[in-house]
Amino acid sequence: MHMSDDLNAFREEARQWIGENFPESLKGKGIGMEESGEDLGADLDRWRERLAARGWGAPTWPVEYGGGGLSQSQARAINQELVAAGAFNHIPMITGMGITMVGPTLLDYGTDDQKARHLPGIASGEIRWCLGLSEPNAGSDLASLSTKAVDAGDHFVLNGQKIWTSGANISQWCGAVVRTDPNKPKRDGISFVMLPMDQEGVETRPIRLIAGASPFCETFFNDAIAEKRDLLGPLNEGWTVVKRLLQHERQSQTGSGMASSGAKPTPIQELAKGYVGTDADGALADADLRTRITRHLMDAKAHGLTIARITAEAKGNVEVSAAASILKNSATIVAQTKAELTLELMGAQGLGWEGEAFTDQELGTVREWLGGKAMSIYGGSFEVQNNIISKNILGLPETTQKG
């Protein structure tokens, strides 16, 4: 088939370009490398510029908005070639919610003016976005949010508090869901606005989590201003926009995303052999742990095969699929189980908080284990995903709404 020949040619071209342009100093590194004490800033920024110039920060977005104008299959090929070369695309990571959620939703609902003003800065990795969704009293039940936006002519005035705004303290822009009509039923009086973070009426406070420092913040709006031209979707129809945004979020949490790190982790079974030892036949000495690691590896394989299968069935178009809830829950189980097993196989070495007595890998495992508990809470909790599956996919009756 000549379609796959085309893809192979594209892949070959991608491989060559990566080989010629990816800085050797970044090979095998990943995001978070600034913490390792190496100063890779200049090379990292050079690599970002090269990716952006080619439109590979957001390969599937239209070229006119800074994307690559490529198909899903081509984007996947780029991703695979990056991984194979020990390279990465860090633009999704450094734009916060920009590439994964805000951009795709802008493409779905934005005006030409909004797309032209906001998308290029995301695609080039220069503008970081956060999202003001949850509130202290609106978590899983997001539609009960109470942050108000009042019409003041050419702009809205915002008052209220958002929570879990990831990266709010380092973002330039925020997409927020706000109540624009308190008299309508709760889902009908909501709008989606975009506003710059660098203004007097916006204050952010980082939140310390069980794993220590975190990217999450509380964000306070005290007469913050959002221009009317930055209202995304029609007034009071923000719930539709949010639902689409959350679909993009689930999609980004299915484990089918982009290569953000060039580092190849040690397989858990090899790690286990090192800590636990093997018997005369080469089997892991702890038979119970061996079985549970095997179950986990099978779950992980099944998850990967399911992403591949759903992609193949959709002939490459899986921007937003009904399967996202399934994949998000499956990805969560795989990641959380892996963290628990890794902690367990390390024994007492898997229980350190800080200090010389533990390796970086051991300490990292602990923090990942703790941080990973959020996976089944954010982006619609494990239980909310099950509500979505039972109602939207299986057609069972609604269980969360009154009456």
């Binding site: 397989p267 099944a302 399911t306 039972s390 109602k391 299986l394 069972l396 609604e398």
Partner: protein
């Protein structure tokens, strides 16, 4: 489903329509009630032969259509949904695979056309005891002047009552515990010294313990090379396991559909029981498991068709992962149907009983998890 070819989609529709209309669970019930020793309805089997399903794997030179394992799996999944009983799996998948992979031209010429036209029913006789453990085979094939003499008993031989030729795994060398030193033999079902004892099993199909009391075969009965049968046996077993993965998926998917339908129609406390979140979430969890299981089942069949180097891993993954889902799904089928699920008049029990047999055949979940770990080097 995987992205199917047009041919596979047509076959899927054909198999689904035929199984639902011509060989539904009701037919299986009638067969069980009749106590038929063969464990299937001959007319049902003849229809399958007429539709050409016996030739799906067999090269065109021997009268088949050579469509591959994913295609065979598409059919088995539909048959699994209706619990359609027949020798299709044992003969046209397991037996045919052994002959295709290990047979000489003469053996292929002699057997494969007859598998296609249904005049031969092949089966694999592998285990010496009640648990699947091919490396533990101790049954001996002693070398005689111009051939071999087989003595011992093979347990739980699938279609053991009706098979016309048995593919018997026996030891010509090596020690029990090793796959080295095994050989495979083609033994006619009417060979002197061969006797069958029918097993009445929970799934009401045609299994037998087959005893070989000094059964003599010629050197030409050897399938593949002497002492080298372990590799061939492993390959045949993996194809069997991938086929079972597809059938198990179909059986579990039907159990899921029956359960979902019941959740939407059964009313208690003045509302359909599917409106209770405890049951909605259970259904969501089962559906998630089903999607994951389907990926494993299809990937194993595709790996065989593409002859990748991870066939053994993928087949163990399929057998274990689909087996886990079928196990849970068959239990939930009964649980969610409540009292009606316990009655023989309702079909749920058939699915539960069949599930445990499918799980055990050619290695249960524990067997395949252990094998998967060994293949990954731990």
């Amino acid at each position: 489903m995987a992205a199917l070819t047009e041919e596979q989609s047509m076959l899927k529709d054909q198999a689904s329509a035929w199984a639902t209309e011509q060989a539904p669970v009701q037919k299986f019930r009638e067969m069980r009630d009749s106590g038929a020793a063969e464990g299937f309805t001959p007319a049902t089997w003849e229809s399958m032969v007429d539709m050409g399903w016996t030739g799906i794997l067999i090269p065109e030179a021997y009268g088949g259509s050579d469509l591959g394992y994913l295609t065979f799996g598409v059919v088995l999944e539909q048959l699994g949904r209706q619990l359609t009983a027949s020798p299709l799996f044992a003969s046209a998948l397991v037996g045919a695979s052994a002959v295709i992979l290990g047979g000489s031209d003469g053996q292929k010429q002699q057997l494969l056309p007859k598998v296609v036209d249904g005049s031969e029913i092949l089966t694999l006789a592998v285990d010496d005891g009640p648990r699947h453990a091919p490396a533990a085979i101790a049954m001996k094939a002693e070398r005689t002047g111009d051939g071999f003499s087989l003595s011992g008993t093979k347990h739980f031989v699938v279609e053991g009552m009706t098979a016309t030729t048995l593919i018997v795994a026996a030891r010509t060398g090596g020690a029990s515990g090793s796959m080295d030193g095994l050989s495979l033999f083609l033994v006619p079902g009417d060979a002197p010294g061969l006797s069958r004892a029918r097993l009445a099993t929970v799934d009401s199909r045609g299994y037998a313990n087959v005893t070989f009391d000094g059964v003599s075969v010629g050197a030409d009965a050897l399938l593949g090379e002497a002492d080298q049968g372990g590799v061939l046996l492993d390959a045949v077993l993996d194809r069997a396991r991938a086929g079972l993965g597809a059938e198990m998926l179909g059986t579990a998917a039907q159990a899921f559909d029956m359960t979902l339908e019941y959740l939407k129609t059964r009313e208690q406390f003045g509302r359909v029981i599917g409106s209770f979140q405890a049951l909605g979430h259970r259904a969501a969890g089962l559906f998630t498991q089903m999607e994951l299981a389907r990926s494993c089942a299809e990937a194993a069949l595709q790996a065989i068709d593409a002859d990748t180097d991870d066939v053994a891993q993928m087949c163990s993954l399929s057998k274990a992962r689909v087996g886990d889902f079928l196990h849970e799904m068959s239990n939930q089928l009964i649980q969610i149907h409540g009292g009606i699920g316990m009655t023989d008049e309702f079909d749920a029990g058939f699915y539960l009983k069949r599930a445990r047999v499918l799980e055990a055949l050619y290695g249960n979940q524990a067997f395949h998890r252990d094998r998967y770990a060994r293949l990954l080097g731990f």
